[in-house]
Structures are given as C-alpha cells and as structure tokens.
Amino acid sequence: MLIEIKNMVKNYEIGDILIPALKDINLNIEFNEYVAIMGPSGSGKSTLMNILGCLDTPSTGHYFFRGTDVSTLDDDALSAMRNREIGFIFQNFNLLPRLNSLQNVELPLIYAGTPPPERRERAEQALERVGLSDRMSHKPSELSGGQRQRVAIARALVTNPGILLADEPTGALDTRTGEDIMALFQAIHNEGNTIIIITHEQDIANHAARNIYLRDGEIHSDRIKN
C-alpha cells in the first residue's frame, strides 16, 4: 500500500469559527495507480491535495505514506518527504523565471544534497524523458505553455518520487497541448509511476483508471474503470 488515509478530518479556523474542509476521509491508493480526484470548487479537493502532497497536515486522523504516519512529522521531515516522495505539477507550472530549464529541473536535487555532476546528469535525463533535450538552456519565458509544463513534469520526475501529484495540469493549456500532456502522463504511468491528478474536467479524469469524486469534504464516489 502506497497511501493509506484513515478517518482524516481537516478543519480551518477563521477567527472563532471552525470550517470543516474534509470530513472523515478514508482512502487507499496502491502502487502504480492512476487516480483522478474530482469535485466542484469548495469540495475539499485542494485541501486533500495539500495533505497528500505533505504541504499540510490533517487536523485529526492519520495519513500513512509507505507506512510512515505523515501527520506526526515535523516541518523538516515534511520537507524531506516532499523532496523525496512527491513530484508536484501545478496548473500555472510554478517554474522559477530566473532559472533555465536545466536549473529548474536540478532544483529538487540541490535540496536533496545531490552532488553537482550527478545532479546535472539526472536533470538532463529527466528533460530527455519529457522530450525537451533541445530546450535545456531556455528560460521559462522563452518556452511555450506546453513546454513549460513539460519542464515542470521533468522537475517532478527527477527525484524518482513515490507519486506525481498534478493539480489541474492542463488548466492553463489549449486542448491540443493538454492532450499532449495527458499522453505524456499516460507514458509516465506506463513506466510504473503512481499519478494523482486533481481536476474538475471529466475529459481529463477519463484518462485515469480510477475516479474519486469529492463533495462537501466527503468522498461521494470512488469508481475504478474496467
């Protein structure tokens, strides 16, 4: 079991008022699954993603990642967890504008303490995997949206994380480029990677083998395609 969530609750406090974002979530995700988490805005899918991505911790309940209870980790351990196990892919790419593609992809390895020659080699390999070996020294501003998202995917892949966590990865792209990116996800999944995509588009969710619908902070349905 890769991810095991048990009776997880997340509340936000605004002043004296307690706002429940997630109510009693139970969820298991296996190795090499391809999951889409769907739901309207306010359904709690972003909160769930933050917790899955170790950016946030649950209020109560447990989140086990490869058997480690993430809810008990301190900030440094969470950082290390994000560095090793989570590959984030964002809607707006979130590349550092001052760095070129290669430097952006190298970034997670810097925080992992990987020595420079190895770092460079692995970053180059990751960029090759996403088909951007000819754009290594380009800055984000010199790349198209699709290319930027590919750099972001390479950055997520470079540490060989346990999961790729993609938040609306095609949201800022036109339909055709979006399809290209989804094809790339499929290829990466076929290589044996676990992928979780957060989206509100059914078309995108259809690429995933398993669709989870959230509504009002609860799992409304959890379907696995044949």
Partner: protein, 412 residues
C-alpha cells in the same frame, strides 16, 4: 543546501536588481568608508602629535626665557631677576631628584654665509647633551663634544636645510661658514627633522632644519650679550629618568626658579608629556564622536538592507512557496535570504573600503592633514558589514522561512 548554491543565488539576487542593490548598499558604503577614513585621519593626527612631542622629548621639561618687550624686561630687571642663566640649570641639577640630563641653549637670529650664498638662521649655542635629549641624528661628520666646549672651539653643526642651501652638492664638513663677524668650522651635518608646525607655549613653530649649532661656551664668548638686559641663556632642557617623575620634577623646578627669579614671571615651563596626554584625551573624545557617527551610519545602512530584504521576501513569496514544495527546509530558505543580505552588505563593505582608502588618500593629498590607513580598520569595517548583513537580514529571512508553503505557492 550547499553553501556554493547559496552564494550563486545571493549573487544573482544582487545582480538582478543592480540599481536597487546599489542604493541599498549606500548606507553600508558610507558607514565603512567613514570608519576607514576617520581612523586613518585619527591615526595620522596621532602620529603627527607623537612625532611632534617625541622631537621635544617626552621625558623632557623645557624652561624657556619669555620674549619680553623692552619695558617689561626693564621692569623684571629692576625687580632683581637676571633672567635665565646657567646657574639656574646648575641649581635644578643639584636639587631636583631623577634628573638624568640637562642642557642649556642660547639663540641668535643671524645671517649665515658661505661663498656667495647666505641664509637666515637661528644660531644656537648648546651644551653637548642637547642633541641626544632632543632626538637629533647626525648625517655626517661628528657631534659637538665636551672638548669643543672646554676649549671654546669655533666649530658648528649645520641643520639639513642650512647645509642644503649653502653647500648644494659640496660636502660641508671641514668647510668654514661665517656667522656675523665670526668664522666657524663645520664639523657635522644633522639629519632632517620633522617640521615643528605648531607653537607650544613659548616654543614657536619653526623649521629646525635651518638651525646652526655651536658649543654654548663658544657662543657666549663670541656672540655674547647684545645688550645688558638680555638673559644669559634662552632655554634649559631637563630630562628626567622616567615619565612618572615629570610632574614632581616640574613642580620642584617651578619652586626653584620662583625663588631664583624673585617671583618674576619671566620664563615659562613646557612639558611635552603633559601636552601629549592632554591631546590624547581630546582626541579620544573626538574619536568617540566620529566612531558613533560611523556606527549610526552602519546601523542606518543595516535598516536599509532590512527594508529591501522585507520587500524582496514579499516579492518572492511565490518562489519561496515553490522551493518549499519541492523540498526546501525552513533553514534552507533562511540561509538563502541571510546569504543575500550578507552579499549586499559585503559588497557594500568592499566598495566602502575602497572609497574609504581613496578618501583618506585624497585628504592627505589635497590638504596638509596627515592620514595613515590602518589595516585593522579595514578588518573592523569589514567585520561590521558582515555583522550588519547577518543581523538585519535575519528577520526578513525568518519571515521568509515561516511563510506557509500552502499559501505562498498560490500567492499572486
């Protein structure tokens, strides 16, 4: 994260906004430059003072005959004082404990001639100990000695300036000079002495290199008194064995002279050591003030850095979020921003050091204020700028590290 990566990041942070970084640095630049310039000017002044008083001899007490008008002179003579004399020196030597050496001198302003050249000079009759007590050095030839005095030989030593003016390329030793109607044989040349630029008590500012020295006995015989009222000698210089005895010895000398001159105030006592101490004290206050100004400037510079770093952190909230999301720990973010603040302050420090050196060189080049750049001041200024960078970069960096990744990554 590796230090090297932090340095690279800090450097690019600096160069991405060159003008802004430069403005931020100004406070540090001025602070550091003023520390260095100020210390170099202070040190220059100190050295000048020390040189000045060392020339007078820090263990010396100088008793000098006052320059009185004819009426005043008549007045004191009526009241039984016969002016400064070798007998005064003799009494001081006999009575005051701890006196190591004592020298008497008489002075006469006269034209000194050689061949077709002449120079205005102070012709001074001295006892042999005088030269050692006043830190003179011989360039060539020999010193005046007891034999010269005892035999009242017509020999003299020339100051470097006189020798240069009268003899140019020639070697003056063995030549004759004419002072008034007397011929004197030059037996030695003195090394150049620092200009005495400031009047201290009765000691007028003048160029000692224009002096001609001959044995006091010869002087008294050959030039003697030009008028009956004149005192026998112009100055008595007393050296005590150590500076601790100076106050006591000078009080005693005052008493002796008071008695011998029948309470007439026709002499003055100059104590270089006390003047040195007094000047040191004044300079300390001055240095403290300047130091405070420099410190304020550095603090203001630090606040400038803090201000810009706080703005930078705001501006780069998103970047911080991204870095945190891909695995940067709080301390990685922390050290990144502290490094950037330190990079600004160190760069400012380096520019400040250069500016400070240029400033003090300019001061000594275009004014007659002497400066001496101190290596330690460069270290102090530099260390200060690093400390300022760390301490004023700390708070913004802490803010950056404490941003919640969940919020900062979605910050627009």
């Amino acid at each position: 994260m590796q230090i090297e990566e932090n340095l690279k990041l800090a450097w690019s942070g600096l160069t991405d906004h060159k003008f802004r970084s430069f403005l931020t640095m100004l406070g540090i630049i001025f602070g550091v430059a003023s520390v260095i310039a100020m210390l170099s000017i202070g040190e220059g002044a100190k050295r000048e003072a020390i040189a000045k008083y060392q020339d007078l001899g820090v263990n010396n007490i100088i008793v000098r005959d006052k320059d009185l008008t004819a009426e005043e002179l008549e007045e004191v003579r009526i009241r039984f004082s016969s002016g400064l004399s070798t007998q005064d020196a003799q009494s001081i030597k006999e009575v005051v404990p701890g006196v190591e050496k004592i020298a008497c001198q008489s002075e006469l302003n006269a034209e000194v001639k050689y061949a077709d050249k002449s120079v205005k000079s102070t012709v001074t009759g001295v006892t042999p100990d005088f030269f050692g007590m006043m830190n003179y050095r011989l360039k060539s030839g020999e010193w005046l000695n007891e034999t010269h005095s005892a035999l009242r030989r017509k020999v003299c030593l020339l100051g470097a300036g006189v020798a240069m003016t009268l003899y140019r390329q020639e070697d003056p030793v063995g030549k004759m000079v004419k002072v008034e109607d007397q011929w004197l044989e030059v037996i030695g040349i003195l090394e150049s002495k620092a200009l005495f630029t400031e009047t201290v008590g009765e000691l007028a500012a003048r160029d000692l290199n224009n002096d001609v020295y001959l044995p006091l006995e010869t002087y008294l015989t050959r030039f003697g008194l030009t008028n009956q009222m004149q005192s026998q000698i112009k100055q008595i210089t007393v050296r005590v064995a150590n500076s601790g005895q100076i106050v006591e010895a000078s009080n005693l000398i005052r008493e002796i002279l008071k008695r011998r001159h029948f309470n007439n105030d026709d002499y003055s006592i100059v104590i270089p050591y006390e003047l040195l101490k007094q000047e040191e004290k004044e300079r300390q206050i001055y240095n403290f003030l300047l130091g405070a100004i420099a410190a304020i400037s550095l603090i203001v510079g630090g606040i400038g850095i803090m201000n810009i770093m706080l703005a930078t952190v705001m501006e780069r909230t998103r970047e911080i979020g991204i870095r945190r999301a891909i695995g940067a720990r709080k301390k990685d973010i922390m050290s990144q921003f502290v490094s950037e603040a330190v990079a600004i302050s160190i760069t400012g420090g380096i520019i400040g050091v250069v500016l400070g050196i240029v400033l003090s060189l300019t001061v000594s080049l275009f004014t007659d204020i002497k400066t001496s750049i101190q290596l330690y001041s460069i270290f102090i200024a530099f260390a200060f700028s690093v400390i300022v960078g760390i301490s004023f970069g700390y708070l913004p960096a802490k803010n950056a590290a404490n941003l919640k990744p969940v919020d900062s990554i979605r910050y627009e």
